[in-house]
């Protein structure tokens, strides 16, 4: 046979709780206990509240740019929920919901977007890495972090999060390829939220799925409804097994939608239709979860009212904490460049406001002495 099949393959799409409220028992049963479901839902609501308040803070000049999570809460949260507490979460900047689940204090995120590096001074016990501004670069760090754990014989894995846009960067390819070929336990979790600022996913990936990006490396690829926390959890379960037990990376595409602007510096009305937004609003993971909980008799309006209040209070308190942190000192510009600050930098620090030289100011004096001599 001159034409033979060198490979046959396919991609599964997972959906458990769909936008019409139908729930697949076969896959969904026992995936998430009811008490956890309640916690997860409450968590999402708090995170959504942060989006609302952060937006106002930015508009009133109390914060810089802020990227909202709105519409995508189920993705990072579903993933964080399934991971062990000591697995690395290597995120981008649109995973607040998952990070808070990890215990990362909300004021850290606020502080970061308020222009203070200490927001990224994350206690290592959270196993979270700093916000990654350059798109597509952090997957390599995730690969290295997981590799390090594997090297030391630890069972820790890494899960790295990124957008549809990030999959266009070369580093994404290199990270997946390293993980696949060197057997490194990383889960590559793509939040396909349909947009990279103003550029639609079709320009990042014109293939039928983003999930098939992973086929290039021979790793398992899964696509799921990213607004369905059950589907996310199901995929994560499979992926965690594959990574933890077999050192095999997995690629997950969670199909979701960025309900808000790209950041508070953006105005999405310039480039996308109201209709599209409305359609996705009907698929909102918060609504879906609430309806589901209500249908199970686990939730009611009174509880919601209480939760809304709690969310407002939680976020407001975090904002207060963030705003009450003292401004960093000028010296901080210099003191973190190296473990030991070289003389040259120390001099720049010590003279930054007293002389323009940035060199040992005694030089000026001595030179002047010489001049006069």
């Amino acid at each position: 046979m001159p034409i033979t099949k060198a490979l046959e393959t396919h991609i599964d799409h997972i959906s458990i709780l769909d936008e019409h409220g139908s729930f697949d028992e076969a896959l969904g049963k026992d995936l998430i206990p009811d008490e956890d479901l309640l916690k997860l839902y409450q968590h999402m609501v708090v995170c959504r509240k942060l989006d609302e308040i952060a937006f106002k803070l930015q508009r009133s000049g109390r914060m810089g740019t802020f990227p909202q999570n709105m519409g995508q809460e189920a993705t990072s949260l579903g993933a964080a929920y399934m991971l062990d507490d000591t697995d690395w979460m290597v995120t981008c900047y649109r995973e607040n919901c998952g990070l808070f689940w990890r215990g990362l204090p909300m004021e850290k995120i606020l502080q970061h977007w308020m222009g203070d590096e200490r927001g990224n001074q994350i206690d290592r016990k959270h196993y979270c890495t700093p916000i990654a501004v350059p798109i597509g670069t952090q997957m390599l760090h995730a690969t290295g972090l997981a590799w390090g754990a594997k090297y030391r014989g630890e069972s820790q894995i890494a899960c790295t999060f990124f957008g549809d846009g990030a999959t266009s960067e070369g580093d994404f390819h290199e990270a997946m390829n390293f993980a696949a070929n060197l057997d490194i336990p990383v889960i590559f979790f793509c939040q396909n939220n349909q947009w990279a600022i103003s550029v639609p996913t079709s320009i990042q990936c014109s293939a039928p799925t983003v999930a098939q990006r992973g086929m290039a490396y021979g790793v398992e690829c899964l696509q799921c409804d990213g607004n369905d926390i059950f589907a996310v959890a199901w995929c994560m379960k499979k992926a965690i097994e594959s990574a933890r037990d077999h050192n095999r990376p997995v690629f997950i595409e969670a199909v979701t939608y960025r309900l808000g602007d790209h950041t508070t510096a953006d105005d999405a009305r310039r480039y996308r239709d109201e209709e599209e937004v409305a359609l996705w609003q009907s698929r909102d993971p918060l609504k879906r979860m609430r309806t589901f909980l209500e249908s199970k008799g686990l939730w009611n309006d009174a509880q919601q009212a209480e939760l809304d209040e709690h969310a407002e209070a939680t976020v407001t308190a975090a904002v207060e904490r963030a705003e009450s942190i003292e401004t960093p000192s000028r010296d901080d510009i210099f003191n973190w460049t190296f473990a030991d600050i070289p003389e040259q930098i120390a001099t720049q620090r010590d003279t930054m406001r007293t002389t323009s030289i940035g060199q040992d100011p005694s030089q000026i004096a001595s030179e002047q002495a010489t001049t006069q001599a």
Binding site: V199, R270, Q348, S356
Partner: protein, 322 residues
């Protein structure tokens, strides 16, 4: 004549060059319908269509690498990199290919491409949105590096860059994108690459600067009682040393102001060439007011990092007193 911001002047230059020359194409992230995150390419997508104003995948090496191919094929690509901090992924295509193609092929292939990049600090942006990497590219042979400090120059230099037969990195100081307006002729004109501009004349001290810092230099000069000459470099490479030499030979004193880290910044090159050319005319060491040898801080501290009129004034006084 119209009273334009720097953003508007650049937009106008792009429109005029695209109308004049079918080979000109704009490509980058969000440059299409959205008009760029700074709105520099606003209106171009509607005016020239999606074949000439192209939203690309989010991949800087891809943007520059395909632009090199486009240029080799006879087009005049004007790729945009969204912020100077994202030049990094494209560094290899810029330095290993764009800069070398003419030398490598003895002009059989050339890369007439203008890379537009917003540059510098001071807009309260996140990390990697506030750097000043001009010295990096000035050290790479085969590249021209341009940074206007005014709307008039921005338009004229950009037109020169697009028409230039070699690759040009066109840095746009984002702090002054909309900081002030200037009369800008509606007709096309060029400002030559490689020629500095004397912003104001003086006899006692020369300040050399470029980009957004020129504004701070002017503030410091206004405060000072000394007679100070201000040279806006406009082009980093090839540098207009003749202009600097003439000025420093006259004044005998020089202060260089730039945002980039001090060590190995372009100020060092200028100071060294001044020493080489004006040694016996110098009354004091050339002084640098620059960023520090540290990562540009997040925005709570960014004004401490950027050279401001205070620091420039101190330098003037120190050098005058030397």
């Amino acid at each position: 004549m119209a009273n334009l911001t720097l953003v508007q002047a650049i937009n106008l230059a792009l429109v005029q060059e695209m109308e004049k020359d079918e080979r000109v194409m704009i490509l980058g992230e969000d440059v299409g319908l959205n008009g760029g995150v700074f709105r520099v390419t606003e209106g171009l997508f509607n005016r020239f269509g999606g074949d000439r104003v192209i939203d690309t995948p989010l991949a800087e090496s891809g943007i520059i690498g395909t632009s090199i191919g486009l240029a080799m094929s006879g087009q005049r690509p004007v790729p945009e990199i969204q912020f100077e901090g994202f030049l990094g992924p494209a560094y290899d295509q810029i330095c290993s290919h764009a800069a070398r193609m003419r030398t490598r092929t003895r002009s059989a292939f050339t890369v007439p491409m203008t890379i537009r990049v917003p540059v510098g600090g001071g807009i309260h942006a996140p990390e990697l949105h506030s750097d000043s990497p001009e010295a990096i590219y000035a050290h790479q042979p085969g590249l021209k590096v341009v940074m206007p400090a005014s709307p008039y120059d921005a338009k004229g230099l950009l037109i020169s860059a697009i028409r230039d037969p070699d690759p040009v990195i066109f840095f746009e100081p984002k702090r002054i994108y909309r900081a002030f307006r200037e009369e800008v002729p509606e007709d096309e004109y060029t400002v030559p690459i490689g020629k500095a501009r004397t912003v104001c004349e003086g006899e006692e001290l020369t300040i050399v600067s470029w980009g957004a810092s020129v504004v701070q230099c002017m503030q410091a000069i206004e405060r000072s009682n000394d007679s100070i000459e201000l040279i806006d470099l406009r082009t980093i490479y090839p540098i207009d040393m003749d202009a600097i030499e003439a000025s420093v030979k006259k004044t005998g004193r020089c202060v260089i102001v730039h945002e980039a880290p001090r060590t190995s910044g372009f100020g060092a090159e200028i100071a060294t060439q001044i020493m080489e050319r004006c040694f016996l005319h110098l009354e004091a060491p050339v002084q640098r007011v620059a960023g520090f040898d540290t990562i540009m801080p997040y925005y709570k501290l960014e004004t401490e990092y950027l050279p401001d009129a205070d620091r420039i004034e101190k330098a003037i006084n120190e050098i005058r007193a030397y």
